[in-house]
Subunit: 308 residues, 2 copies
């Protein structure tokens, strides 16, 4: 799957990922109105609205981008109905040929991590049948429990040729509280980064490992350091756009080959029509606004990489 | 909810929690057979089997215990159908008057943590309606992202009078890889413990805070230290029984008032009939075996607390 991701990045010339993190407040009125007319102001209605909203964005952008990253929390908040919309979204993105990064940030002790790995990346056995359930291509994983919490995910990834992005240095303001603490003079995130590099050796693709890392766009200096700590790991970089990151800050997340990073934007793309810059598209044109925002993001990052 | 938990611990004299972490391999044949006859060897069949299995255990033990802790991964692996069984289990345990600790180990950046908090502990707004979805009473949370990943959970807890157990020192063998790293001479888990104590001050119940911690039974010395670092935080202690912890090792997780800790056993209770000790119950008597295992666990911990 890392090979497919890289192939698609090269084909599209777009090392970016669209974060499908729908909030009901982002969904244009014509979509919620229709969904609520059919299902009422219910969980089912909300799930239908976010699914239709997602579908519009995917249809308008899938030819420009290699991958999407649905954030499961945004679906899980609507319970079972929301998770059905998550699954529909994953399946639809697969139909459209997109690589799907499940932003699930799971992680637990061994046997429990194994269950999460099976549910999100692998197959679950029921009697003599085996079923893919959520079936993402990559999952984000939390490292706090150490190697035996990560290992079951890697085992499933090996079986399925799938991958992980492990949290190393997250994009949020207080990420430093624990992640920046110095251990023998070096921050915790570097130690985690070293582990990611080591775990990654176990499951290599052609050029890069299937085991990548998450490093926030909001911490470009740390990104530069971590790029060197994990030379063969892809870095998933959230925090572009709405969270404050810009193309020029992100060049050092990439290797000299122009690969090694994939930049995520969520709100900046999917709710583009709410920005002044794209307001002319209006709610009805939200998907076209997303397409324009994707094109602008690609130009920004491509420009930054060409001028580095 | 922390007040209710304490009240129930006092009433039952049992500072324990039964971990509802069903694996299909634990479910006795008579249950799987019936479920598969009705639904086939499908995800629905698996979900029905684990739901019926859970129901038997809850019916056999609810009068002895204050709380249950369903591990969502074990349901999530069966996709949507599995998560329906999770929700059914949570709802049924509420009907039986049990406190439900959702072992979900979620945690993300602010807005995303807010969505998880809403989904698991709060209400989600759809138009003019608000819905409780998974509706656990407590949730376990991962602290790696720092205060702004935790704060949205605390906000929802305040609104709903619910609580959290934040991972501090986990029970698994490699938990020390990051958690034990020394920062100015003190392990990371102590720093996290201090934060838990601080976060807990924001949301106090009568005797203890709504914001507790997870510390593994497999690390009794660290438990003794953390007990003092977080005097007002309840400690949820996994790792009893199957993972190796015993009553006598656990006394220092408790305060002098005999409160402050709640010991979890999962496999040791729910799959008790598979142990030699309880084999006489057989698969048909699995729920009675669970009841006996609960009684034995209570006696072990009570004995240890009396003799400390």
């Amino acid at each position: 799957m890392i090979n497919k991701l890289i192939k698609k990045i090269k084909e599209t010339g777009a090392p970016i990922v669209v974060g499908l993190d729908p909030m009901l407040s982002y969904v244009p009125e014509h979509i919620t109105k229709k969904a609520f007319a059919e299902y009422g102001e219910t969980l089912e209605g909300a799930a239908e609205a976010i699914w239709q909203y997602n579908k519009g964005i995917v249809d308008a952008t899938y030819d420009l981008i290699p991958a999407v990253k649905p954030q499961i929390a945004m679906y899980e908040q609507f319970g079972i109905e929301g998770l059905k919309a998550f699954q529909k979204t994953v399946d639809y993105c697969h139909e459209k040929g997109l690589v799907v990064i499940g932003d699930v940030k799971r992680g637990d002790i061994g046997s429990t991590s194994a269950a999460y790995a099976v549910g999100h990346l692998g197959k679950v056995q029921v009697g003599s049948n085996a079923y893919h359930t959520f079936n993402e291509d990559f999952a984000t994983v939390n490292p706090y429990l150490g190697t035996d919490g990560i290992k079951p995910f890697i085992d499933v990834c090996k079986e399925e040729k799938k991958g992980l992005f492990i949290l190393v240095k997250t994009s949020n303001p207080s990420s430093g509280e624990f992640q920046d603490q110095l251990i023998d003079g070096r921050p915790l995130y570097e130690l985690v980064g070293e582990k990611v590099a080591k775990w990654g050796e176990e499951h290599m693709g052609d050029e890069y490992s299937y085991i990548g890392a998450v490093v926030g766009a909001t911490y470009p200096k740390q990104g530069e350091i971590l790029r060197k700590v994990m030379p063969k790991s892809f870095i998933l970089v959230p925090g572009y756009g709405a969270q404050g990151g810009q193309g020029k800050d992100l060049v050092h997340f990439f290797n000299e080959d122009g690969l090694g990073a994939i930049i995520n934007s969520s709100r900046g793309i999917i709710a583009a029509y709410k920005q002044e810059k794209y307001a002319a598209f209006g709610g009805e044109g939200y998907a076209d606004a997303s397409r324009q925002a994707v094109e602008d993001m690609i130009a920004d990052i491509r420009g930054a990489l060409e001028n580095r």
